[in-house]
Symmetry: C2
Subunit: 255 residues, 2 copies
């Protein structure tokens, strides 16, 4: 494959990393080359440099995978690990109190990125995974994040086709706009079988010291688990506890 002229080396390095994802945790050199559009020789040279650094690792076979150095650097990301550290104990309490899946998510590139998930033997099996992404318009945390996202993010999500996952997914932009108004007004978001049949979500916003919504918390349960409205006070209370802990931590680190 001919190399794209004028492409910066930095863009090639990040393209190599972007080739990996939850569905492609291991890639051969051929796959890396195909996914990045880099010639084999360039992909090999850059991958070798990244292996020497630790950002990539060789697999037992012929492939490459994301290296532990990326995990270590990622643990320094304030919007990931620090947020999780602050939220974890409250999330564990909410799990103890409800015995249902508890999620913490932030908005990234117009999607909900799941920062932490607490689950247990009795909880519903759900699609979410730590480090995974789900769409904003079809999940509880996603609706909270979208309702409080910058106008340009909202406009972009509403302008694109809204993917339909079940017959309950909201795919009409006008209806979604009204739902987001409700979410801002009530401080709580629901999703009723909008991503997966049989699954309900109750979500609330987490605010930082400036009052900005920086994350969302939700509980996901089976539709047989009773009316989701009964869980709204628990989820809102937990989200408020995390918001307070976040403010306290910000005041401690930037007094």
């Amino acid at each position: 494959m001919a190399e794209i002229p004028g492409r910066s080396v930095t863009s090639k390095v990040v393209a190599l990393f972007d080739a990996f994802g939850p569905d492609s945790p291991e890639l051969t050199l051929n796959e890396l080359s195909a996914r990045t559009g880099l010639p084999l020789s360039t992909a090999h040279r850059l991958a070798t440099e990244l292996v020497a650094w630790g950002g990539l690792e060789r697999c037992d076979g012929a492939g490459y995978r994301v290296g532990l150095r990326m995990w270590e650097l990622g643990s320094l990301a304030p919007r990931g690990e620090s947020l999780r550290d602050v939220a974890l104990s409250v999330m564990q309490d909410l799990f103890e109190g409800t015995k249902e899946n508890v999620h913490l998510a932030v908005c990234q590139d117009g999607q909900a990125l799941y920062i932490e998930k607490i689950s247990g033997a009795g909880a519903l099996l759900v699609k979410s995974r730590r480090g995974g992404r789900l769409p904003l318009h079809a999940t509880g945390v996603g609706k909270v994040l979208l309702a409080h996202a910058p106008k340009e993010v909202q406009a972009k999500v509403l302008a694109a086709p809204l993917a339909r996952f079940t017959r309950h997914t909201i795919v009409e932009p006008g209806r979604l706009v009204r739902v987001l108004d409700d979410v801002r007004g009530t401080g709580v978001a629901f999703a009723y079988e909008e991503l997966t049949l049989g699954s309900l979500s109750v979500a609330a916003p987490i605010q930082d010291a400036s009052g900005a919504v920086v994350a969302a918390l939700d509980v996901v349960l089976h539709t047989t688990g009773g009316r989701p409205e009964r869980l709204a006070p628990a989820v809102r209370t937990a989200a408020i506890s995390i918001s307070r802990a976040l403010r306290d931590q910000q005041i401690r680190s930037h007094p």
Copy 2:
């Protein structure tokens, strides 16, 4: 500052990332330039490209920090997140059973890198943090990892001066070699106030499907918590459970 000639762009990009650490989560452009040896203009250009990608983020002030995209990519590292996912429930059980700090660590660059830490209100306050590093020769998990490390890693650690943290730290290479023999023979490692006065550690190895030691598990408790030997069966049992779960998972993903 004059740029080092012949330095590859990849090496400059990774130098920018390496400038960040647990003690330097936020850096100004001047600090980035000083820590990487890159001219301000180069550091600015590369940092701007990495911000656009999401690997770095701008802080509220003048600085930069590690971005959420690094956290997301890091969550794909098998030796980090996948290992943690497999180990987590057993670690929680061990914490429930002991009410003491439980750590999971792997060997990285001749140090113990902490992948997960479970702690609670009653547990001793310890130096460890998720994503942090501690020396191999002065911790329980470190001794396990060093005892089973490749010969060249052992030789390197034993050849370098062994840092003294307390009067109990083992700083004589010959004595450390004998301790590592014991660790391999007994399948358990102890650290008695070797990193911090008042703190004990009991550790055991975690093996993958091939029998290689890929991680270590320990419990860290106060010296007033009784003889550490009494915890050895619990820690070994938990480490064996995690090893078995790891084998099962490897067999499922590579049948």
